[in-house]
Homo-oligomer: 410 residues x 2
């Protein structure tokens, strides 16, 4: 694949091509950061306006019942459930991934009294490890870190209460074998927690088939739920009623409007809901998810692999000799939907690319990340992104002094 016309013909044969027009993609931008913040679905604005004007403005307090706000955490959970292989009633949406992971960790540690080890990876997403420190500190647990590049299964033994891993690595896009590791955790008597932040919406996931115990994940990446959109918590029906978690807010109570003195958890996944949900953010996510109603996730995965594979192929061919090293696995079954390239000048390159309309992002010390969201990224986007990267490298424009300044928040 060397020409624009070849990329264009791949787009013409793309069964997902029709979804692109459902997103607002700014003129002159090739957006390769949907793995960090998904693009705006065009239906969101009107949906949110209806919630503000009709439900809040006119409905006022009556909308907790009349507009179904009270049920939104579980209703949005049910919309999301098919994307991760969950059944209705197994997913709650609200709070952040960090807070939800905290709930799951506490629940898991309590469900395995006598075992005091939590396994995680050094290379897990940092907030996951910070929250593991927070929960382990409270519950007197010890943390066992899997060194970068090693097999987490080697760290499992009869002291391990739970193992918490991120399915697709935020740095490299390397993907774990969910079913294999979950089975190994169960053989060791441990509970399995998956963070699906970097995989949900980018591939088919089947938590039920993999017999997973807990999953959390964010919805503002491949699900396009909006900046800081509320996160989800999954616990299977077979397990949930045996668990307790300490963020025991009134919305997780068996009878929230009985206003009784003591906490009694709701029967199912609602016990993982805590305080009053942030309805506007939740309603925005609900609107975003309507796009997925008729999406075939196998097609999403096929295109994700096609886009990432083409990107890596073109970078290797067109940008050789510039010190770029692709750190994302080349094997299709071993990666998610972004591609990471290590380069000593990565920060300047990402800045120079952004100035030319190609938006990726940078993770210290040297990683350039490019995310490919199958619903709105095209093969022509990939072709043009690499063309522009090649230009920036060839004419050395990334060396301009202004690209050396580190922006406060990237």
């Amino acid at each position: 694949m060397t020409s624009l016309s070849e990329a264009s013909s791949l787009d013409q044969r793309d069964p997902l091509a029709r979804y692109r027009e459902r997103f607002h993609l700014p003129e002159g931008i090739i957006y390769l950061d949907g793995n960090s913040l998904g693009a705006l679905p065009k239906n969101v604005g009107a949906g949110l306006q209806r919630v503000v004007d009709r439900e809040w403005g006119d409905g006022l307090i009556r909308s907790w019942a009349g507009a179904g706000w009270f049920h939104l955490p579980l209703r949005v959970g049910d919309s999301l459930a098919p994307l991760i292989g969950a059944r209705p009633g197994e997913v709650a949406v609200g709070d952040s991934t960090s807070a939800n992971l905290f709930k799951c960790l506490c629940a898991a540690l309590r469900a395995r009294p006598g075992r005091r080890v939590v396994v995680t990876e050094e290379d897990n997403f940092p907030t996951d490890n910070y929250i593991i420190e927070g929960a382990a500190g409270l519950l007197g647990a010890e943390i066992r870190y899997v060194p970068r590049g090693e097999d987490p299964r080697a760290m499992l033994d009869d002291q391990v209460a739970t193992i918490a891993l991120t399915h697709v690595n935020y740095r490299t896009a390397a993907m774990h074998d969910m079913a294999e590791i979950t089975a190994a955790a169960h053989r060791a008597g441990a509970l399995m927690i998956w963070d699906l932040s970097h995989s949900t919406g980018a591939m088919p996931i089947d938590l039920g088939a993999a017999d997973v115990d807990f999953a959390v994940g964010c919805t503002y990446k491949y699900l396009n739920g909006g900046p800081g959109a509320p996160a989800f918590t999954y616990v299977p029906g077979r397990l949930v009623s045996t668990l307790s978690q300490p963020l025991s807010g009134w919305m997780g109570h068996k009878e929230p409007f009985a206003f009784s003195l003591h906490y009694q958890p709701a029967d199912a996944i609602r016990r993982f809901v805590c305080g009053t949900p942030q309805i506007l953010s939740l309603a925005c996510l609900q609107e975003s998810l309507t796009i997925f109603a008729d999406v075939d996730m196998r097609e999403v995965r096929a295109k994700s692999l096609g886009l990432t594979s083409l990107f890596m192929e073109l970078v290797e061919r067109e940008c050789a000799g510039h010190g770029l090293e692709i750190v994302t696995p080349r094997m299709a079954g071993q990666r998610g939907s972004h591609v990471s390239i290590a380069c000593a000048n990565g920060y300047r390159l990402i800045r120079a690319l952004a100035d030319r309309g190609v938006l990726g992002d940078f993770r210290a010390p040297d990683l350039m990340r490019f995310g490919f969201t199958p619903l709105y990224c095209s093969y022509v986007d990939v072709f043009n992104a690499v063309r522009i990267l090649k230009q920036v490298l060839d004419d050395a424009s990334w060396r301009e002094e202004r690209y050396a300044t580190v922006l406060e928040v990237t």
Copy 2:
């Protein structure tokens, strides 16, 4: 005060009357539930649309820096600070009141090693007591409940690590003396936590002058931040850097973008921020708060007392003989901004009133609550609400069978 014209002349002299037009108040509705969900400020819709279209749609990932999303939890906190007597940098906004109370409880218990008692009231808002159960369970603390109607100061001794109270009671609107109780807690060596959910925005509050250690509160009542708007956490500068809390997400890290292996809390109030904030809900609150920029909170308090006082006076005069009992304190210094009336037929009455455009709410087993938000409630609203209540009582229309059906969520 017996006539509509007298109420109307109070409105004409009301220095806050001009704020009413800044809210969307549906035709035919007298809204007396702003203590549960504040009305929609008219500027919110356009503000939110700008955030969605320009910041998310066009700005995409760049808006974390370019639109200041990253700083929003503290920036909105700084907008809110003057309303509660906090200094800039002492308030963070995000998560729910429940989650924030959990953080404060854990921090307080850790700051008082050797003391294992948490004091709360039986009559505290239920979610506060549920969260106290959750935190106490994790930290091995014991809960001491102040019986309804008794003085919390009597429960303080050298075993008490912290006392967590709600400033204005959600049922009765009875208000604690913040400075007195805080001083008593400090004399006993305990840390003071106030939940300001039912007072913020309805009266001047001076956390600094009262030397309070922690405060949390919701922003969707008198601050009109929208359904489930994010809650706040206050910790004074003198204390915050000595504290640790276990919801240690990446947004509370000293260097969130360093992606280091271990958690290191940020220096000040940011250490009480956890995961990625729900930007749309936060931006909505930011818009709502602009209304308070030039509001004199003493005028708010004076009008709040005027409205509640008039309501109680009229109810007593006009609705005698129907078994209504006002449970809200009559002394001005002892109540917040809602009035609660106990009545065996309260549920039916609230339903019948709603059918006639008067929106209050009901709390089991027998409490009718009517909230008076000084920025948009008028004295004429009060007069008309009581007139309609009197009608419903006099013609016994509340007895209609349809008002007996209990709606699932009220």
